[in-house]
Symmetry: C4
Subunit: 125 residues, 4 copies
């Protein structure tokens, strides 16, 4: 039986969803993604809090990453308690009841040629 890999608390200081996109939807829609990996034999209950530069944090957003699964969560799709505004700087804290691994990716298709960035998120130890 595989052990849970990772940490319970992660932070992504970068966040920005462009309002404009080029190319076929949804693959080429500008998006920010938190890739969540749960290697454990039990579900991970995850809550996400969004921080802004000029207003109080919003959240938590709740998602479940099932046992032995990955979830590539688009911040674009978060709805409850509120969608994330476009063209706005934000950051996020991701907390799970069991260890998970978090990687941050953005596809930016504001221009005809898309750009990509990715980094493992910051794990709080």
């Amino acid at each position: 039986m595989r052990q849970a890999i990772g940490h319970r608390t992660w932070a992504i200081a970068e966040g920005y969803i462009p309002s404009h996109s080029h190319g076929p939807e949804p693959a080429m829609t500008s998006h920010e993604t938190a890739c969540l990996l749960n290697t454990a034999e039990e579900d991970a209950h995850v809550k996400i809090t969004i921080f802004f530069s000029d207003r109080e944090p919003v959240g938590p957003y709740f998602v479940v990453v099932p046992a032995r699964r990955t979830m590539h969560l688009r911040f674009n799709d978060l709805r409850n308690p509120a969608p994330i505004p476009r063209d706005t700087d934000y950051a996020s804290v991701i907390e799970s009841d069991i260890p998970i691994v978090v990687q941050h990716t953005r596809l930016d298709s504001r221009q005809a040629a898309n750009a990509l960035l990715s980094t493992v998120a910051y794990p709080e130890s």
Copy 2:
């Protein structure tokens, strides 16, 4: 004699192989790569497990990184027990019998202008 640098367990939460490419093959084929570095004086026996969002994990895939060598392993090339489906979210766990270093890179050539991302993978301590 150089000591082995790195960790025995690594995770890459991001994974996605686009099915479309532009430009000359194979250099410009859209691909995901795990760059593995073995600085030790003995071979590293590595097994890779692939996680998905909607089905059970697949693997292990076995590779050997010889002593004092690097291997830039394209996930596109994994065949046994099964090729990795295109246009599908996945994640990976990489386990070695001796410490290695793992870095993750994607070249995305779905559009005429390619995009690159890279990050050191998450080392489990």
Copy 3:
């Protein structure tokens, strides 16, 4: 009450602000950003020192990241004690009186198609 996440000292060894840009300002201006996240219930007092390849370090630059806020600080905007020269290699050290999280991003629009890079900064432990 949420605890402060992160470290007090961070380093970004990469730094380069291109003097040329394509696309609408300011979103598409070539820029280097340090994304700072303060999850604590008190303000973070941050000082930034800039290192060069051929002259003495410049700084500190002072910024305040309010409690429960993120600040996506463009190095382009630093003025006091001196603006950061364009087309020049630099690096930075970021020190805070309470733990914060730092991520480094560059949007490079020297060419018509912009490029992006991002990585969590190096946390000194």
Copy 4:
């Protein structure tokens, strides 16, 4: 007096210098860079070893990063004991006599639109 920040041993598992470039030289020449930051009050004596997939490691290459300076070292420029071959997978280990910070960047201008990647290197603890 500022303390040295960082680690003495770093690894970059990714390495690849494309032989083709677009755009004005040298800024837009395809290149791989190791950004080295020495925050200490004394010089850092650094040696770099290059690993390949199919031959013995080459090195060490020696560089000095002066006190309170950054050096953005292009692997393209390494000459002694041998230049790094183009279009060839490699990896690197960077060792310093005092702690430094290392970040890895590639500008890929094989196509008209350049692509960028960057990540903090792997610090051996």
